[in-house]
Symmetry: C2
Subunit: 190 residues, 2 copies
DNA sequence: GTCTATACGATGATAGAC
DNA sequence: GTCTATCATCGTATAGAC
């Protein structure tokens, strides 16, 4: 239940974002959203056309937020390797998983181009930013010249997304951290 | 709808396995299972205590099947690197995702120790088999002695699981293959 | 073993009062 | 803008006949 100056529409979107993260699209009911947002049926259908419309607003905000987080670390200080390390090691609530990546396991999201678009765009954008860093690192001699920047970027993002899967399977963040350490060991210059 | 000599109980389990893969636990209803299995309510509640019980049987079979598939490639012919490559490049229906990894995004599966156990065991087992191969490769000088076999194994499994996420986000297997190529480039001996 | 009947709460949405 | 009916359908399960 939210209170601080948020509009009803914003509270609905925030409640939906949380529930999509926890339970996915199929597992998220309007009823649960309304309860968490402290709103009535009428409010929701006044501000949004229905569940897919509200979910779209929520997914867009979540995708934006993830991208902003990633951009912050990736354009931070340090060498390309150090910035990639910062991205991989940044604080995460590993067992909650990725609020964006999670949606790719939702058949109703993947089947709907409008719902999938923000997910696709956010992940593609992060891949591009990382690929740019890898290119930079290659130019500086920090990474081997033979590496394909796009492939390494895909590997880095996949390691994070897959790390969540391993962690949730075992009920512990250990496997996530292990995968990250393994990747950094292979990427480390010298 | 199945027909070939399968028992009703088996048809129910197979239908459940398919639906869990496609739609996850929350997205799979007894009704849909019955329809796909060509069975009535009575049959299901005769053979199983309810949805969680049937899902458990289905998850166990799927976990076993995945493990068997992985074991086959990992204990196949070739050097450690070649067997890891065979595992990473083995034919997959990438856009369908991993029938086991997928379940980790299901809150009701993760919250239930009995349902999560087979998922955890299958993934842990694959990690161990790969870690053994990495150790072997280190002993043969194929991999750098400084690498941690457990970390590299976590990285390899995470790359596969994360590759599915990237592929489903973009609606194309390309990102999966890119991540795999990136990983193989970093692991390649010489 | 399998079927039909029945039950009750949840889902996703509409209508209309205030 | 928000609230309270109201609705048809689905989800999950039980009971009891055959």
């Amino acid at each position: 239940m939210y209170s601080r100056g948020m509009s009803t529409a914003d509270r609905l979107v925030e409640a939906t974002r949380e529930l999509l993260w926890e339970r996915g699209y199929v597992g998220t009911s309007p009823r649960a959203i309304l309860e968490r947002a402290g709103a009535g049926q009428g409010s929701m259908y006044h501000h949004f056309r229905g569940k897919p419309d509200l979910a779209l607003a929520a997914i867009r905000r979540t995708a934006e937020a993830l991208l902003a987080q990633a951009d912050e670390v990736l354009s931070g200080p340090g060498s390309p390797y150090e910035r990639i390390e910062a991205y991989l090691r940044r604080e995460r609530d590993v067992l909650r998983g990725c609020p964006v990546g999670r949606l790719t396991m939702d058949p109703d999201v993947v089947a709907d181009d409008a719902l999938r678009a923000p997910v696709d765009a956010a992940i593609a954008r992060i891949r591009e930013r990382i690929a740019g860093l890898v290119e930079e690192g290659k130019a500086q001699g920090q990474f081997a010249a033979g590496l394909d920047a796009g492939e390494i970027a895909a590997l880095i993002v996949a390691t994070v997304q897959g790390g969540y899967v391993l962690a949730r399977a075992s009920g512990s963040p250990e496997a996530f951290d292990a995968g990250v350490r393994g990747l950094l060991a292979l990427l480390r210059p010298e």
